[in-house]
């Protein structure tokens, strides 16, 4: 299963480091990253392979929620297939 991780918030140092370290600690492999910064507003989208993770989806989500609060950003992780289905005929 692949997941889409979205991080939205005010730009600051080390956002990617925080999130990628956390993902690595659960063996979640980052496949692609796309980020933009517009007027101090940071938006990043990551495609993550969740097949080899050493925990379950819910726990990973909880850890990301905790991290989001810590670095004062909004972080969401969702299954990738929802986006494919919604936008492809």
């Amino acid at each position: 299963m692949k997941g889409i991780l979205t991080i939205i918030g005010k730009d600051r140092v080390g956002i990617i480091a925080h999130v990628s370290t956390l993902l690595a600690s659960y063996n979640a492999n980052i496949l692609d990253i796309n980020q933009t910064v517009m007027r101090d507003y940071f938006t990043m989208i990551m495609l993550v392979d969740l097949d080899g993770i050493t925990t379950d989806f819910t726990t990973l989500q909880q850890k990301l929620d905790k991290k989001a609060k810590e670095i004062n950003m909004e972080i969401k992780i969702q299954r990738e297939d929802i986006f494919d289905k919604m936008y492809e005929v």
Partner: protein, 452 residues
Amino acid sequence: MIKSKNILETVKMVDELKFDIRTITMGISLLDCADSNGEKSRIKIYDKIARLSENFVKTVEATEKEFGIPIINKRISVTPISIIAGASNDTDYIKYAEILDKAADVAGVNFLGGFSALVHKGFTKGDEILIRSIPQALAVTNKVCASVNVATTKAGINMDAVRLMGEVIKEAAYLTRDKDSIGCAKLVVFANAVEDNPFMAGAFHGTGESETCLSVGVSGPGVVKNALEQVRGQDFTTVCETIKKTAFKITRAGEVVAKEVSRRLDIPFGIMDLSLAPTPEVGDSIARILEEIGLEACGAHGTTAALALLNDAVKKGGIMASSNVGGLSGAFIPVSEDEGMIEAVNRGSLNIEKLEAMTCVCSVGLDMIAIPGDTKSSTISAIIADECAIGVINQKSTAVRLIPVYGKTLGDTAEFGGLLGRAPIMKVSSFSSDDFIARGGRIPAPIHSFKN
């Protein structure tokens, strides 16, 4: 490849525009729970619901987290209880309602529908007992919803049932008078009721359905309104196209999530109901969509046309997105559950006559409308008859959910709380329909129903 635009749009739909899956409803057949001994029947009913729904709520919650799309309500619908309880020798079915309420509590769902009877052509013994039990059943339970189908295009309108339902609604209002007659908010009178409707209060699991199934109602008035804000001033072709595309996306999202829940529970996926359903929250209103199409206030001339195009475009987009469309599928226009409708009534732009016209072009009828508590039962029956005529002649479902709020009158507001919202009391005609309702009998099926 990451398609940022699509991903961020979806995130915005959920975070800002209140996109959600309004309900996942598990239909459960209780046909094998009938017994001549009422007590035994109720034990079977409780055991079956408890067994089948054991993992329902937690599975739905786990799935919603993975997809990041909120699923607001988890509900159960069952076989019309008049059919099951009719096998027993009981003389009222209130204990059946109580056991359903208990089963709903244990399952963790917020409503259970199916305290129902289908009497469009006539009453069985069980139908009549059930209907007479409705007021008390709704007063002593919290989660049980009742519905009665009194008309179909094929059978015509059972005017004896229409008369009886006027009296039942009045009694339900009286028995729940301490809570603004909330019992009536859990009671729908239908014409052309569908067997696979996932929405309350009218959900029941029809006898043509499988043993169990999951039916899903998506929502997203806020998403549609936002999309229309981007095409302000453009022509109607653009408006319809925009609604279609939006309906496609929200239907697809609903279907993906529902199919995953179905797979995990090993319960067949039934249908997607393409209804746009509002909530009392700001930004989740059908009335505001109609206003966005170009009306100063919902109820202004043009409202019926705007609702017709909205209803049609939602279906076209949704049908392209899913091969399993069913239920009511259309826009809902409940007054108390829609912030924009409430304001329209308070501004004086929307009245019951205009709402009646609107019900000709959308999927339900006069829904969640509070009327003066001293409205006569014959007037309520006559309103039901009018809505049935619209449904029967136009070969569509219509429904009536009126709340004659005990002790309240014009200028007052009824407060129901939660998704049921609040409703300003609306004016009904003061002229009598007594003699019309006193006739009884059946209004025959219309000529165009004879298609064979």
